[in-house]
């Protein structure tokens, strides 16, 4: 085992945030840390890397290749970065240099970090990218021309170019669809043969694919650890059981919806392009009151655009959209990243009070709704950045429900939440939908989630030629 962590704790001004964490990883023995947001898993990685935020300090033992890392100075720590310890950042497309083609990003690691001369660095970069499936023209592209999966490959190539013996992967599947997740797992598995790979995720499916050891974190402690198959198939701790059970593939199937309910929105013969590319054409879609229609398909296939067209935020290039009522505020949207949908400087109380004043809603109506959505009144005086993503998404749900919507477009609304929180938000959404006869368009890249939530599903295809072939799949009702 090249990495050994014993009794690691991380303390901040308000006391210990992480304590008693003991882990080990090595080549051929990957380690996966799973747990919800705020469980301290990212802090464990930061303590190993030496990038704890100011005000936090680590104690315990972190031994890597025979050296104690914690007593090292900042400069000695930095000397290890890239060379011995590499970090695969989350959403790697945000970490690439936007002015440099893919091969340059890897080449500079060979040249500057590993110290190879030209043209050796250049050809090594080309070879490595080709080995990862980015050969020829693809390697010459700039980050904005790369898809999420390709950017992920470039980032992986950059982390292994200098031969780091420890790879820390922080939420590597964030923003990737199922097919890309499988690719990523395969790449991490290939890397795990030579280096110690420590992956941080809340994606149970990824943990299963990576194998090795799984450690489950809750409130700063490791509550359960062991071989992946054992922990995930026969969880002993109650939290692990809930985590595994929260995977959408294990949710009860939705009942088929009554077809006699009224139609809230219809699109006929819709077509829309984006940036010179045809996303979909001749697309027909209908959402009834009290039903969820799921739209799924790979990244960039136009799912969000379709939702925005139905909402009226975008005009279709061709076709017509018919809505049950002309009042625009009754067509609402839930966003993928809840903090980005709120004004960051106003408390949630102010946000709701503004809304109440604008539409003449009595505060007496708000409190019971918050209670239904299990939002404690104390949260009202916080800023959007000061509560968890799950709580904020429930506030976003409360905010739109106050306007009595007939149609709600949930745009990857739970893709940034951990599985337990996702299930919580989706259960609440489903309850409100049934109660109010709300028509919901659920856009997700996760097929399992689409199957679990919606009796009717629309698959959008990425391929330009097949854009017209939006197929409606009726899930067999159980």
């Amino acid at each position: 085992m090249s990495l050994l962590v014993e009794n690691l704790s991380v303390a901040g001004p308000q006391g210990r945030i992480v304590q008693g964490v003991s882990l080990a990883a090595g080549p051929g023995a990957p380690l996966t840390l799973i747990g919800e947001t705020g469980s301290g898993k990212s802090l464990v990685a930061a303590a190993i890397m030496g990038t704890l935020p100011p005000g936090l300090s680590a104690a315990g033992l972190v031994r890597f290749e025979g050296r104690d890392l914690l007593p090292l100075s900042a400069g000695e720590r930095r000397a290890l970065w890239g060379r011995r310890i590499a970090l695969l950042p989350q959403e790697p497309w945000l970490s690439l240099d936007p002015t440099m083609p893919a091969t340059g990003q890897v080449e500079e690691v060979f040249g500057l970090v590993r110290g190879q001369a030209q043209p050796a660095a250049s050809s090594a970069s080309t070879r490595l990218l080709a080995a990862l499936g980015l050969g020829g023209k693809a390697a010459e592209r700039y980050p904005f021309q790369l898809s999420g999966g390709m950017a992920q490959r470039v980032a992986i190539a950059a982390t292994q170019a200098a031969g780091a013996a420890l790879l820390l992967a922080d939420e590597p599947t964030k923003g990737l669809d199922a097919a890309l997740r499988d690719d990523l797992a395969a790449m991490l598995n290939a890397r795990a043969a030579e280096a110690a790979v420590l992956t941080i995720t809340h994606d149970v499916a990824l943990a299963r694919m990576l194998g090795g050891t799984v450690a489950v974190m809750l409130e700063g402690r490791v509550v359960e650890s062991g071989p992946a198959a054992q922990v995930l198939d026969a969880p002993r701790h109650d939290y692990t059981r809930r985590l595994v059970g929260a995977d959408p593939s294990r949710w009860p199937r939705p009942a088929p919806t009554a077809s006699n309910a009224g139609v809230v929105v219809t699109g006929r013969g819709l077509a829309r392009g984006f940036g010179g590319r045809q996303l979909f054409r001749d697309l027909d879609i209908t959402v009834h009151a009290g039903e969820i229609v799921a739209v799924s398909g790979p990244s960039g296939c136009g799912k969000t655009t379709l939702g925005n067209v139905l909402l009226g935020l975008l005009r279709p290039d061709a076709g017509t959209v018919t809505r049950i009522t002309a009042a625009p505020v009754r067509f609402q949207k839930l966003y993928q990243d809840p903090p980005s949908a709120f004004a960051p400087h106003a408390t949630l109380r102010t946000a709701l009070a503004d809304l109440a004043r604008r539409h003449g809603i009595a505060w007496a109506r708000i409190s019971p709704l918050l209670q239904r959505l299990r939002l404690a009144p104390a949260l009202l005086d916080r800023l959007p950045g000061q509560i968890s993503g799950g709580e904020l998404q429930r506030f976003a749900l409360a905010r739109v429900l106050l306007l009595d919507p007939v149609f709600l477009f949930a745009d990857e609304a739970t893709s940034r939440l951990d599985p337990i929180t996702q299930q919580e938000v989706m259960d609440l959404l489903r309850a409100q939908m049934a109660e109010r006869g709300l028509g919901v368009l659920l856009v997700t890249h996760e097929t399992a989630l689409a199957e679990a939530m919606a009796a009717r599903r629309v698959m959008l295809d990425a391929a330009e030629t097949q854009a017209a072939a939006a197929t409606e799949v009726a899930t067999a009702a159980v």
Partner: protein, 273 residues
């Protein structure tokens, strides 16, 4: 990394607070000098011809100039002129600049293009040159000077506000606010203004400093404020020939400009948030 601890942000350090505090105190002292100084009832134009170029610390606290006029009184009147002029010029530039920037970002299309072209045309001329051209129409007329400074200055506000507002208006938070039925006034107040405020404060501080320097520079090249009206720049010009006899006298108005700029720069320093 959305762990709650990380979102508290770095604690505001003492150093940055002290910096702003010092800047604020210095500026306040200069403003007090500008307001109270002229009330001391020493006529800045009164000539004491037996006491020309009197040294500092005698009957006259900061001495007299070559015509026997009190330098202290003249500095105070000049401070009132410079600060008052700069503040008014700043308001005359910042208010239309900010409003037009918001309009351009909100409306987009030809409105945005027309305003941007106008701004680019003004920006193509160096600020001082522009003021010089306008001021040359009526040398010494303070109203023309005012017009020139404001015309050069509003562009900065326009461009900064337009750029920040445009990216904000395209963000999910503004899209959500529009879907929730909120109008432009609310969106500007809740979403745009809190983001713009610190940037505008910095621009304002640099705008005042820049304007004071511009007025003094124009006096120095004899197109600005004309003697005998006291102004820091023309005081330097008038005292320059006597530099060998009374060097400290020349430094006094220069020190005023220096202190004002230091105060504004400290105030506009890094935002602790």
């Amino acid at each position: 990394m959305s762990d709650a601890v990380l979102e508290a942000g770095p604690p505001a350090t003492r150093g940055m607070g002290m910096t702003r505090w010092t800047g604020g105190a210095l500026l306040l002292a200069l403003v007090a000098f500008a307001v109270a100084g002229p009330l001391l009832a020493i006529d800045p134009a009164r000539q004491d011809l037996r006491n020309m170029l009197a040294p500092m610390g005698g009957d006259y606290l900061l001495g007299t100039d070559h015509l026997g006029r009190s330098i202290l009184a003249r500095l105070a009147h000049a401070a009132r002129l410079s600060l008052g002029f700069a503040t008014l010029a700043l308001l005359a530039a910042a208010i239309p600049g900010t409003l037009l920037g918001l309009v351009a970002a909100w409306r987009g299309g030809w409105v945005d293009r027309a305003l941007s072209i106008l701004a680019d045309m003004i920006l193509a001329l160096p600020g001082l040159l522009l003021v010089l051209v306008v001021a040359a129409f009526a040398p010494g007329d303070i109203r023309v000077l005012f017009l020139g400074v404001s015309v050069a200055l509003w562009v900065e506000f326009f461009r900064v506000v337009r750029a920040s507002a445009a990216s904000l208006l395209a963000s999910p938070e503004v899209e959500a606010a529009r879907l929730l039925g909120f109008g432009p006034a609310h969106i500007v107040r809740r979403h745009v203004a809190p983001r713009l405020a610190p940037v505008l404060a910095t621009l304002a501080a640099f705008g005042v400093g820049g304007t004071v320097v511009t007025i003094s520079t124009l006096s120095f090249v004899n197109v600005g404020v004309r003697p005998p009206m006291p102004e820091w720049g023309n005081m330097i010009v008038e005292l320059m020939p006597y530099f060998e006899e009374a060097p400290a006298h020349v430094l006094a108005p220069a020190a005023c400009i220096f202190l004002l700029l230091i105060a504004l720069n400290l105030l506009a320093g890094r935002d602790p948030r």
